[in-house]
């Protein structure tokens, strides 16, 4: 176990190192001088040569690339992600300000997904090949196939405009979370419903479940007490692994609902060529993702000790 943990940690560090090099390299390949474009935006007029020179010195843009990267990396290791070109703040402050909204959204979306998928998955498996089952399967298919940007607009028009309690945009209270979480959660719910259904169908065929049934226990007890518990193990894992889906989806959902999270921060930074922010957000996303994966792997082993993680590498 310890060896496994060390190995996973080492490979996570390698992955993060690769992410840092790749994002840094990508960003520096961009044509155009960030100094001029950013100053122009700020001043509302053409910056002078001295202003451009001053900006370049301030942000270390005169150094050779490998020195810039080394500076950046040593900063990152001490928690300093650099200074945004455009916002008068450090990247760390910006990320700290935007991350909570995204985490809230991710958690709420997962909650929505569980609330939809667990009942739907159970009903689907228990009443297999009935109208319920087909309906829930079709719902799942729809959920995974509908583009989030369209679903989001649909919800704004159908729900937010007529209902004063549901805001169209922004972040803050629980009410601001409802529509984005539903938009993002439906896709995830679809994946989980299908998985739970399959997993439950499999478990219902297991000998111990059959035994329980033959003992004359009512179907509800059989399903809830015996089958569901083991059927949920893979589901929990998948929900964890779906974190990537949630982060991917959060970008578009945050844009649709103008929700100030990491996704909108990233999109704005890309369009504004605010490279330190782009690099910071990508790195933080990678850290989040790698950590979740690691945790999911470990909890999986904890939940189901039969799994030999050494072998399944």
């Amino acid at each position: 176990m310890h060896r496994y943990l060390l190995k996973r940690l080492a490979s996570s560090v390698v992955v993060l190192g690769a992410v840092s090099v790749v994002t840094y390299a990508l960003v520096l390949l961009t044509p155009g001088d960030p100094a001029e474009t950013i100053l122009r935006e700020q001043l509302n007029s053409q910056p002078s040569d001295e202003q451009i020179a001053q900006f370049r010195t301030e942000h270390g843009l005169d150094e050779p690339l490998h020195v810039q990267y080394a500076d950046w990396l040593s900063g990152v290791l001490t928690g300093d992600l650099g200074q945004s070109y455009f916002h008068g703040r450090t990247v760390r402050e910006l990320i700290a300000a935007h991350l909570p909204a995204t985490i809230e959204l991710a958690v709420a979306a997962m909650l929505v997904a569980v609330l939809i998928s667990v009942p739907a998955g159970i009903v689907s498996a228990v009443y297999r090949r009935t109208a319920f089952d087909y309906l829930s399967q079709f719902g799942a298919l729809f959920g995974v196939s509908v583009p989030n940007f369209w679903l989001g607009y649909l919800l704004i028009v159908a729900v937010a405009l007529p209902l004063s309690a549901v805001p169209t945009s922004g972040s803050g209270g629980v009410s601001h979370l409802v529509l984005p979480a539903v938009t993002l959660g439906t896709g995830l719910a679809a994946v989980v419903t299908r998985l739970l259904r399959a997993s439950l169908l499999e478990t219902l065929e297991e000998p111990y479940v059959r035994t329980a049934r033959s003992k004359g226990l009512c179907e509800r007890v059989v399903v809830c007490r015996h089958a569901l518990r083991s059927a949920l193990i893979p589901v929990v894992t998948v929900i964890g692994l779906q974190f990537a889906y949630v982060l991917n989806g959060a970008v578009i959902v945050e844009v649709v609902f103008d929700r100030p999270g990491l996704g909108t921060l990233l999109v704005d930074a890309i369009f504004a060529r605010d490279y330190p922010v782009v690099q910071g957000v990508v790195l933080v996303t990678a850290v989040l993702f790698v950590t979740t994966n690691l945790l999911v792997d470990l909890s999986y082993r904890y939940l189901d000790p039969r799994i030999d993680l050494e072998a399944s590498r």
Binding site: S11, V14, V15, A18, V19, T23, L26, V27, L29, T30, L141, F142, V144, S145, V146, P147, N148, F149, W150, L151, Y153, L154, I156, V157, L161, T237, V238, L241, Q242, A244, Y245, L247, N248, G249, V251, I252, V255, L266, V267, I270, F271, V278, V282, T285, A286, F289, V290, N293, D297, Y300, I307, L309, S312, R313
Partner: protein, 292 residues
């Protein structure tokens, strides 16, 4: 990444099996029909409906009518006509992305599986890296940096999405290598190339086809998403994601501008997903676990 596909499940399946399996599953048959219809529209449609940019300002923002079944846009262009042209663009982009992914993944998987050792180790670390990252975020950065165009969206999504193909191909190669007939064939002096053609390709084709079909749905959504963010198609290209983004300004006054392309995207993605599910069941192979 403890969920790796089990190579022992990979089996070559004859065509007749496939046909029978699809027939048994009406949902995937429906998916197949939807995909076939959209493909048909994409191929012959544009020639039938005329110029997607034709129209007059005086005719702008007309609600759906017999003359314009899906209404007109802010420049007086017929939305149905643009949707039909968009089918070709949307499909072509999705297929191109999937093909590039498949080719890169195929080559990498093949090389990793055949060479083994350090090469394998290095390539698989790259694969791990790509699988260990939210693809859209990376694609967004790549496309954003290269500048908005459909070509760059294609490039970005292809670059971030080939890893699952490489895994599937590699594990197929490994499973074939273990088979006793390979040693026998080597002894008999059969060349590697021939071995690949006769034994390996039929083995790997099934899972790769299933993976690609299921992937197509996701690719359509991802490409449309990037276009929606303004990184893809350039005006006046009637790409579906861009049409949704452009229509959003008229969300209230002309909802058909958002709904028509939104529904179109959902329909084609449903089609690909149903078809992919059907193929997966029919071929009894599940390569998707590594794809998430």
């Amino acid at each position: 990444m403890s969920t790796i596909d089990d190579p022992s499940r990979v089996e070559a399946v004859g065509r007749s099996n496939l046909r029978r399996a699809l027939r048994r599953n009406p949902a995937s048959l429906a998916g197949g029909i939807v995909v076939a219809l959209v493909v048909l529209v994409a191929i012959v449609g544009p020639a039938l409906v005329g110029d997607p940019n034709a129209g007059a300002l005086s005719n702008r923002l007309q609600p759906p009518s017999t003359a314009h079944p899906l209404g007109t846009d802010p420049l007086g262009r017929d939305v149905l006509t643009r949707l039909v042209h968009g089918a070709r663009i949307t499909l072509a982009v999705a297929v191109a992305i999937t093909l590039v992914r498949l080719v890169i993944g195929f080559v990498v998987g093949l090389v990793a599986g055949l060479c083994g050792g350090l090469v394998d180790e290095a390539l698989m670390r790259v694969v791990d890296f790509l699988l260990a990252f939210p693809g859209i975020v990376l694609a967004l950065v790549i496309a954003g940096i290269l500048g908005p165009s459909l070509r760059n969206v294609l490039l970005a999504l292809a670059v971030v999405g080939w890893a699952s193909y490489a895994r599937v191909v590699r594990s197929s190669v490994l499973s074939v290598r273990e088979e006793p007939f390979v040693d026998a064939a080597k002894l008999a002096g059969i060349s590697r190339v021939r071995l690949i053609r006769t034994h390996f390709v039929p083995n790997v084709a099934g899972p790769v086809v299933v993976l690609a079909t299921l992937d197509l749905g996701g690719v359509v959504l991802a490409a449309a998403g990037l276009s929606f963010l303004g990184l893809g198609a350039q005006p006046p290209t009637p790409e579906w994601g861009a049409m949704v983004a452009d229509g959003a300004d008229y969300l209230r006054s002309a909802p058909w501008l958002v709904n028509a392309p939104g529904i179109a995207i959902a329909v084609i993605v449903v089609g690909f997903n149903l078809l992919g599910d059907g193929l997966r069941d029919a071929l009894d192979t599940d390569p998707t676990e590594v794809n998430r």
